[in-house]
């Protein structure tokens, strides 16, 4: 039982890490209906930019602000160069454009900051909490708990932003109906710029957490692979869905690997979440928290 609990807690905490990346996808999809394939590349670019600036002796918080500034600029350029010329094009066109954007961001980030792998210390040790280990022999990582705290804070901030600010309400209006939002004078292009900037902020936070966990390298782009089943499960338009989806995916993939893995050769945590997400799709195509789409015939 103690081991089961340890696996479950570890899985839940890992799931929160996946939610970080999923949040970025949700934000952009919610406001523009664009599935941003470049979100993983944005996580990588944000973390690499932060570490690159830090290497020049810039203090931590200033480096954070500067890296955020770069992400805002990236968002604005994306809106101007990629999205604006494609307004009113089918969603698949916008999706394909974000695939191209992925390669541009990856190449640009490596071109500017180099391809070297870097370490990143946030001052939180990735070690088990001693008293819990001594009392119950359950290993819970201090760093994973810290990451979960940051995720909770981020979700709370985003919820406040969406519910209680004019921009947040405008974002929700655009998400509900582009045409209607435009007709009442909401500037679509400004909204897109803002949502890409917020997604850039989420990418930066996710990049720092994942970068501190595994190092800042190209592999940060792979974190997107972990976010996809979370999105399918939680729904593409729901911020709480991204969190709950992350928790479910994280815990079940860990339990499956530990208890079922040996019967199928191990290493199943790469595909098991997708199988589970597919099963969910059959029951709830819009995901757990996604908006039900009803078309009038």
């Amino acid at each position: 039982m103690q081991f089961f609990l340890e696996v479950l807690i570890g899985g839940l905490l890992s799931g929160v890490m996946y939610s970080f990346v999923a949040l970025g996808f949700v934000l952009i999809y919610k406001a523009s209906g664009v599935f941003n394939f470049a979100q993983g590349a944005m996580v990588f670019a944000a973390a690499l930019t932060f570490v690159g600036i830090l290497e020049h002796g810039v203090p931590f918080w200033l480096a954070f602000v500067l890296a955020f500034g770069v992400m805002v600029l990236l968002g604005a350029l994306t809106e101007r160069i990629v999205l604006r010329p494609l307004v009113n094009q089918p969603p698949i066109t916008l999706f394909m454009a974000t695939i191209g954007l992925t390669y541009v961001i990856e190449g640009l980030a490596q071109g500017v900051w180099g391809a070297s792998v870097r370490g990143l210390e946030l001052g939180i040790q990735d070690e088990p909490i001693e008293w819990l280990m001594d009392a119950a022999n359950i290993g819970v990582s201090k760093f994973d708990l810290f990451g979960s705290g940051v995720a909770a804070l981020l979700v709370a901030l985003l919820a406040l932003f969406f519910q209680h600010t004019r921009i947040g309400r405008a974002l929700r209006a655009v998400a509900d109906d582009h045409q209607a939002a435009l007709s009442i004078g909401i500037p679509l292009q400004n909204i897109w710029r803002i949502v890409w900037a917020v997604a850039g902020f989420v990418a930066l936070v996710a990049g720092l957490i994942w970068g501190a966990r595994n190092g800042v390298s190209f592999s940060l782009t792979f974190t997107a692979l972990k976010a996809l089943p979370v999105l399918i499960l939680g729904g593409f338009t729901s911020i709480p869905g991204a969190i709950v989806g992350g928790l479910i995916i994280g815990s079940t993939e860990k339990l499956a690997e530990v208890y079922l893995g040996e019967y199928v050769g191990g290493g199943i945590d790469s595909w098991f979440p997708y199988v589970m997400a597919l099963a969910f799709l059959l029951i709830r195509p819009e995901g757990l928290f996604g908006e039900k789409h009803i078309d009038r015939v």
Partner: protein
């Protein structure tokens, strides 16, 4: 007069052009072309930029210091593969006809690309050198005349890992009753060590626990919880890329001592330990080259190449790192094979067939290593018609938190176990492909 001067001008231009074309052809006639299928962008760019950087720097050193190999200058061209098989094949095709004698040797630094061009190199008569990767059974040169998995193979390495662990336990007999977990990248590369380690487990009486990690390996919590449950005495880390720092961090998280972790040579570079921070301290990894700048060959590169601003590395602090020095090893082997072939075929650019002969008669002994300024930098080696591995020796280095420090001498592989396995596997391949193995007693 004006017409005459115009004609003269045209004649002079034509003569100049012809002259420059002729000079170019003459220069090319005395150049040895090496195609480099490198990867400097993408997921494995950190490794690729280090290895190809060291390799190019060594060739620049030979050109700058010695004027080439016996007067034959080395030329090269990079082709970006991004570690992608399809691009690797494209690069192979694009480069094979370059230079006055075509691409003389193909070294893709990727097991996937190696498999993709295995049949092509034999058909095109271009030798392929795969140092520390690729097919292990290609070490049987009777079946694979065009492939050279030089210095040491994965199977040899696995046996040296057991020897190293045995030495730390107080002798091989102390391995009985111990438990060794094998945390591997769930791919052909990762599975390569399983068969030989299972045999070693039978031989020495330890329990072998394989644990697969799905690509890319950036999440390993389940595997490390299993390790916590299994309580192994040692963990062998057989990873690549992000899997390595993730494993070291996860080991720290679960409280597994890093001093009891031994990595494969693709898990033992600065790119694996630096991102893991303090979690990597005490971790040991295998290598067929060592790290450090205090070798005459590396110092010569700094003196002759970097001081002349002709170095390939953007980040000069990486000179002397594990991957950089591995690139220098690639350079040394390439150059020495050309030198060996030139001794037989003359001081001229070589064809692929001539280069193959040079590789098959390569003998870098302790004396030659000293002359090259690479004593202790890499093991001595001797390639023969039947043995395309040539050494099997592996050295272990430990990360002290800042740099790699030597943790063992060069350890010989358990060739009594490995060689029959290689021959058995190669014979199976020969049967599948209808290959009649060469009779090495008849080879020149």
């Amino acid at each position: 007069m004006m017409k005459m001067s115009k004609t003269l001008t045209h004649t002079l231009i034509a003569a100049g052009l012809l002259g420059s074309v002729a000079a170019d052809a003459l220069a090319q006639a005395n150049e040895q072309f090496i195609g480099l299928p490198s990867y400097r962008v993408g997921a494995y760019a950190a490794g690729g930029s280090g290895i190809y950087g060291g390799w190019i720097d060594y060739m620049s050193l030979v050109n700058e210091r010695d004027g080439g190999i016996n007067g034959v200058k080395l030329t090269w061209e990079e082709c970006e593969t991004e570690y992608n098989n399809a691009r690797g094949v494209e690069c192979y095709e694009r480069m094979k006809k370059k230079g006055s004698t075509g691409n003389t040797v193909f070294q893709p630094l990727s097991t996937g690309i190696t498999y993709s061009v295995l049949d092509k190199v034999a058909a095109d008569k271009i030798p392929m050198v795969t140092i520390g990767y690729g097919r292990t059974d290609a070490a049987d040169g009777r079946v694979f005349p065009w492939v050279f998995p030089m210095i040491t193979t994965y199977w040899s390495q696995a046996t040296t890992m057991v020897k190293y662990i045995g030495s730390k336990e107080g002798g091989p007999d102390k391995l009985k009753g111990k438990k060794i977990a094998y945390l591997y990248h769930d791919s052909a590369f990762g599975k390569e060590g399983i068969a030989v380690l299972e045999k070693q487990a039978q031989k020495y009486g330890f329990t072998f626990v394989p644990l697969a990690v799905a690509h890319p390996g950036n999440e390993q919590q389940s595997q490390w919880l299993k390790i916590r449950q299994e309580k192994p005495d040692w963990v062998i880390l057989w990873g690549w890329g992000v899997m390595n720092p993730t494993a070291l961090k996860a080991a720290a998280k679960t409280g597994f001592p890093r001093e009891k972790m031994v990595g494969v040579w693709w898990s033992g570079a600065e790119e694996d330990t630096i991102p893991a921070g303090d979690a990597a301290k005490g971790y040991t990894a295998a290598g067929f080259n060592v790290a450090g700048q205090n070798f005459p060959v590396v110092k010569a590169i700094q003196d002759k190449v970097y001081k002349a601003n002709k170095g390939n590395m953007e980040d000069k602090s990486r000179v002397g790192s594990i991957y950089y020095n591995r690139g220098v090893v690639h350079g040394i082997i390439t150059v020495e094979a050309i030198r060996t072939a030139q001794a037989k075929f003359g001081k001229k650019p070589l064809s692929g067939e001539e280069m193959r002969w040079g590789l098959e008669h390569l003998n870098i002994d302790a004396k030659r290593l000293k002359e090259l300024g690479a004593e202790g930098f890499m093991p001595d080696m001797k390639i023969t018609c039947s043995d395309h591995e040539g050494s099997g020796k592996v050295k272990y280095q430990q990360w002290d938190g800042r740099q790699w420090k030597s943790a063992s001498d060069w350890i010989d592989a358990d060739s009594e176990m490995v060689r029959p396995m290689i021959e058995e596997s190669a014979a199976k391949y020969a049967k599948e492909k209808n290959i009649t193995p060469r009779d090495c007693s008849k080879e020149g």
